[in-house]
Each structure stands twice: as structure tokens, then as C-alpha cells.
Symmetry: C2
């Protein structure tokens, strides 16, 4: 069953609003075995909207439309749908009751314009909106079954899961296919190299499709599969994941889509260990990432974001001589920062970064993109100097932070 | 001049990735007087991709395409473009030189697959990519001038502003209108309220259009203007910005689109002041935001991300009695954290957060969404307790961090 998604509204068309509804709907549909072929966005212009509906009606089996169901003059989805199907708009009693009951439930004052929301294409079936004023509706245009929903995300999501998905599953009947996606998270290889390594997967596992998603500086390898038997499908995907993991080697952070910070957190919990961080060039990004993981307070104790040398000396106990002799950006300083963070917080491990994120501060000997990563553990401390060349400050911060966490991950593994 | 935007890639088609590129491009094009009529997204399937290009080539005057220019097997934009135009792919020397020079500049290792990125449609003109490996290209398909760009946002943005927009302005010829957008950054009012406050602006300033962009938890108010006389246009927009600023009051962070962290940084530089932070629930996010601003080392000295009570006590000198009596999440602890950070780093100001980001850790008295913000300055210290109800951990971290910076901004103003 081939599906298309249509997002309507001048805010989306003009770029004032990023359309996140379509991605949400696509992911849901794919998860239920409905293949999403295309997304389209048009504005509130009646001609363009009608034309898009007619085109989709000639191409797709099912279509999900968001937006344009409100009470205002620029909400024209119902009118366009009627035109596209060649039917009239009529006052829909069922829709009107749902509008009325919403206003009753939430003690809101109705305006005459709300009556417009009950003007729906002749013969459509109404989709309840328990959390908003705009009822949705389903109807056939051309060869395609359309589901019209509000653009307000939480109203849309409720209607999608409550009424559209069950109807889609019914439409699929016995032909319902199971669909599954596995994600492998990697760090350390450029996307092109990951692509080369993975190139053979579609031949090795016919029917699976490969997708690479660069979530800088991590690269996600996605394997999409579809089949009538969910157990078989899961088995085939697991084999494909193992096939990939062997070839991607130490670049693999997780075979289950885990982020670096989640993987590091899991490792620390397994080791019953705690972590303290000292950040200069990463400016708190490592701590922010780590604390985005719920439950991180079980292993993350402290990060000293020591931008000034004084803070490095006073808070972390880095020796002024070390900074004088080797500089703040040096393996020696990074090592002392890691030791200091570990000592101050009484943590099992200490991790530190000192580098030059740019745009300024680079030298011939230590150009922008230079980072020194320090590690301290029960068996002592060490540090490494790395060089990255992404130019941009924010990218450097991210790759510095990720490289540090990757070093930690490999050290404690 | 009517434009369409095409985003390609299975990640977008399948909903694994939200397409933010198209909104960015639409906003830019509209701002330069190019009317965006439609957005389309298709996957990496060659047939669907080619079909979309042919359709757009028959409808639009110009089209901007993102994605599918990488070196991997699922990057198929060049091949589809050649098919749609009925030309061959050829090895493009100009493109190859830009790929080579990128790898030289950034000392990266080339892989054989990178040669694929120089296989472009016969007769296209190359668009330089100074910050990535994938060159873009421009060509005509049907009646439409197409611009193919990488999907990596910062590569796309650079190419759009550097090469596509100037070409579009050239294509518009003498019909080119001056176009200008002003952005006001706000924090503290819900989007609906900002919308109500701004509702009158289009009547008050005929010809200007209003756009709201929610960049949680900041809301950007955008004012778009277009006209033949750039001086007149600038004058009218400045008046509209003042009109808005008066009505939005203290919610205005910046009348020039500055982010909160940039605005705070500018204030600190103006006051020749320095800042130290102590973060519990925000977990380093405040420090990360502050240090995303180039030059922040001039005023940002230190952040102590003290997740554990021991770190609060040992690093920041918070008294154990305060934590025992009032709890780690309390106005008293937040105030002592701010004082401690200021003292430890020898900064002009200290800012601290202690709260419950969730999902766990909430109590009846201090539910998830509770944050205490501490402030310390030359005239002493104070703190405030705030409550937010966004449920989600990452949203709470963001609104906590933003609320703290907003308090700092108002204190030092």
C-alpha cells in the first residue's frame, strides 16, 4: 500500500514553520507497513491545494493530510477536497456535534465561524477530534483514500493513532506487512567510508534497504525491512546487523541505535563506576550530553567547565608550572585536568578536554581543531592529542566532545 | 518567479529525519522576492526522484533541491537529474578539482567513491562547496532552472547564500525587488500570546508580513518587507520593529535576532564583567550555550556542573546544613551555588540552577519542572523558584537554562 503525506498552510510553504508532522506521520505509517512514497507541502491557495489533492489521488493508495481545518478563511482543506472529488460542501451534523461537545467539555465560547468547521465534503466520514475544535474527515479522491487531520501536532497525533492507523490496518486486510528498522550508531569513520563498507548489505540480504543518516559527528546506519512474518523479519535484520557490526568494527557505538552518551552511561552502570569531567574547549557540551540521559545522576558526578586558567588551577588543581611550560592546550594539562576532576569529585574515572575550537586562538603548532583529551582511572592517567579540521566552532566542539567520550568508552570497555 | 523546493533522501521520506532545510530555503527565497509554491520530499528511489524532477521542471521557474550528492550508493540526485533532462552523466573536471581541493585543505583521506561526486549531468554548471566534499550544480530541466545542493544544513546554507541567491537575483533581472527581514527574539510569552500582540502589525504597516518562528523556548518574530527602494524599506521595517518592541516589552531579548546567549555576552562585554555558573539540573547546557558564542572566553570563566551533593559542597562551598535542611533543589542551595561559583572563579557575577528536569525525582512539594535559579553579584545574592510544566526532560533543561539566563540578563541590565 503506497502512501503520500500532504502538509498544508502558508506558514509551512513560506518556511515560517518547520513541518515536523510529516516526519512523525511517515515514521508511524512505515512502522505499520505502509510505504510512504512522497511528502508534499502547499500553502492555503485553493487552486494549488486542489491540484495537489488531485495529483495524489491519481498516484497513491492512501494519503494523510494535515492542516487547513480551522475556523478561519485561510483554512480551505475541506473546500479543496470537495472540489478535487467533484462533490459539494454540506453542513455535517455529526461533525457539528463533535465541535459542540468539545466546546461544552472545555467551557469555551463558540464563535459563528466555528460552524464553518462542520462544512465538510458530501459523503465524507468524520474523524473525531477529542482534544481540539477541528474535526477531521476521511474520503476518497480519485483512487486514493484520504485522511484529513488538523495541523496542531498533539491533535494530529491523537487522531492519527486513535482513528487513522486502525483504519489503515483494516484497509491492509490480510495483505498487512510487518515493517521493522534497525539502527547501528557509529563514530570515527567518514560517511563515504561507512557507505562503502555497507554497500554490499542489500545484495547480502535481499529485500533489506540501507539508509545512512549523518547526525554529526555520529553516523547512523539504518536497515529497513518488510515482510509478512515478523519473526522471520526480525531474524533477518539481526543477521544483517551482525554482518554490519563485524565490518564496521570499533566504529560501532551501538547495534541498537544508542547514542554515544547512552552507551557510555550503560557501560558505567555495568562497571558500577562513576565519572567526573573537566572541560575547556568543549565548554560543557560533554556534561550536557551525558545529563540528557535520564538516570545519569547515578554515574555522572561533576564537570568542571574551566575556561579560565585560574579555574583550571583553583578548581582542578592543575599545576601553574604545567600550564606555563606546556600551555593550557597540551597533553600534560589535559591529563592533570582529568586527574583533578576525578580527585575533586571522588569519581572512578576522570575525562578532560583542552583544545582550540576556533575561530581564533590557533597557532602553527596548535591550529584550530587541535584537542588534547585526558583520561584518569584507577590504573593511572594518560592523554592524547588529536587534530580535526572542521573549521567551524560548533562542529569542533561536537567532534572534540564525541572523540573524548569515544576514548572513554574504549578505555573502560 | 515561482519556485519549488525538493528534499531528497530515505531518511526524510521515512520520517527518520525532520526536513528543516526546506523551511530555511523557503524563508530565504521569499525574503528575496521569490514566491515558493510547493515543497516536495521523495526518497532515494531513482524512479520517484526522476519523476519528481520532471514534474517540477514542468511547473516551476526555479527549483532548489537538497540531498543525494554524497559519495554513497544511495546518493542519486545527479543520476536522476541527468535522466530527467535526458543527458548523460560525465566526469566533471571542475567539480573534481573542488572535491580534491577540499580534501587537500582539510587533510582528509580520499576514497575511490569520492570520484562519484564528480560524475555530474552533461552541461551543468558546478556550485562550489567550500565547506564539504559534495559539489552542487545548476542545470535546466524542462522550463525550470534547478539548483542542486547537499543536504548537510551548514553546507547547504553556505551554498544557498553564496551562490544560489545571487544567481536568483540575477535571474529576476530588473524586476528584482529589494527585500528585507527583521527578526526580534523573545522569551517568556507563549507563541499564541506573541501572535495576539503582533496581530495588528500588518494593518499598522501595510505591505509588511508577519512570521512567527518557535525555536523552543525562544520565539522569533519575523517581519518581512519588499519594495523598490531599499532605504524606504529599511526605514519602514525599523518603525515596525519599534512598534513590536514596545508591545512585547521585557519579553524582547533582542531587536536584531540575537540569541539569549549572544545578548547576555554582549551585555557582559559592555559592563566589562565576567561570569561564573553553577549548574545542577541544566547539566552544562548553560555553559555550552555561552561557549557557542565566539569570544566568550573574554567573559565566561567557569561553570561547575555539580550533579552530586559532594561536588556542590567541595567545589562550590555550599554548606551541608543548607542541603540537609532545605534540600539540593531549594532557593537557599541555588543562592549558595551562585555565590560559590562567583567566589571560586573570581567572577563579577554568579548564576546557578538547581531543579528537577525529570522524568523522575519529582515530589508533591517539588514536582518535575521545578527549578531554583540563584544569582550573585557585587550587590549580594538572591534566588527565585520557578515552575514549568513541559514534562519532557530535554525541554525542561532548555527552559531552565533559558530562564536562568533571562534572570541574569535582567539583573545586569
Amino acid at each position: 500500500m503506497k502512501a503520500e503525506i500532504l502538509a498544508t498552510g502558508d506558514e509551512i510553504r513560506s518556511g515560517a514553520l518547520v513541518d515536523s508532522n510529516s516526519a512523525f506521520i511517515a515514521e508511524r505509517l512505515e512502522a505499520y507497513g505502509v510505504e510512504v512514497v512522497r511528502h508534499t507541502s502547499v500553502g492555503d491557495d485553493l487552486e494549488n491545494l486542489t491540484a495537489a489533492l488531485v495529483e495524489i489521488g491519481g498516484r497513491a493508495d492512501v494519503a494523510v493530510v494535515t492542516g487547513g481545518l480551522g475556523p478561519t478563511v485561510d483554512d480551505r482543506s475541506a473546500e479543496a477536497a470537495a472540489r478535487a472529488a467533484g462533490v459539494e460542501l454540506e453542513f455535517n451534523e455529526t461533525a457539528w456535534k463533535t465541535v459542540e461537545s468539545f466546546f461544552k467539555t472545555f467551557h469555551r465560547r463558540m464563535t459563528p465561524s466555528n460552524r464553518k468547521q462542520a462544512q465538510l465534503p458530501d459523503g465524507c466520514s468524520v474523524l473525531d477530534n477529542p482534544v481540539g475544535t477541528a474535526p477531521g474527515f476521511a474520503m476518497t479522491i480519485g483512487r486514493c483514500r484520504f485522511f484529513f487531520m488538523p495541523g496542531v501536532p498533539y491533535e494530529m497525533k491523537r487522531m492519527l493513532d486513535g482513528q487513522v492507523i486502525p483504519e489503515l490496518i483494516r484497509l491492509q486486510g490480510d495483505a498487512a506487512m510487518h515493517s521493522r528498522v534497525e539502527t547501528i550508531t557509529t563514530f570515527g569513520l567518514p560517511e563515504s567510508q561507512v557507505g562503502e563498507i555497507m554497500a554490499g548489505v542489500e545484495e547480502a540480504f535481499p529485500g533489506l534497504t540501507l539508509g545512512l543518516r549523518s547526525n554529526f559527528p555520529q553516523i547512523q546506519v539504518k536497515l529497513y525491512g518488510r515482510g509478512p512474518d515478523s519473526t522471520q523479519l526480525a531474524k533477518r535484520l539481526d543477521e544483517a546487523v551482525r554482518w554490519a557490526a563485524v565490518r564496521l568494527g570499533t566504529a560501532v557505538i551501538s547495534e541498537h541505535g544508542e547514542s554515544m552518551q547512552a552507551a557510555v552511561g550503560r557501560l558505567l552502570i555495568e562497571k558500577e563506576a562513576t565519572l567526573a569531567v573537566a572541560e575547556s574547549c568543549t565548554g560543557g557540551l560533554i556534561a550536557d550530553w551525558l545529563t540528557n540521559v535520564a538516570g545519569s545522576s547515578n554515574y555522572f558526578l561533576f564537570s568542571g567547565v574551566t575556561y579560565s586558567n585560574r579555574a583550571k588551577i583553583d578548581v582542578l588543581g592543575v599545576s601553574p608550572e604545567t600550564i606555563d611550560r606546556y600551555g593550557a592546550v597540551s597533553e600534560q594539562t589535559a591529563r592533570e585536568m582529568a586527574e583533578g576532576a576525578r580527585r575533586v569529585a571522588g569519581a572512578t574515572y576522570g575525562l578532560a578536554t583542552s583544545g582550540i575550537a576556533g575561530p581564533d586562538g590557533g597557532t602553527d603548532e596548535k591550529p584550530v581543531g587541535t584537542v588534547c583529551v585526558g583520561f584518569a582511572g584507577p590504573d593511572g592517567a594518560r592523554s592524547r592529542r588529536l587534530n580535526f579540521s572542521f573549521g567551524k566552532r560548533l562542529m569542533n566542539k561536537k567532534i572534540f566532545a564525541m572523540a573524548a567520550l569515544d576514548l572513554l568508552r574504549k578505555e573502560i570497555k
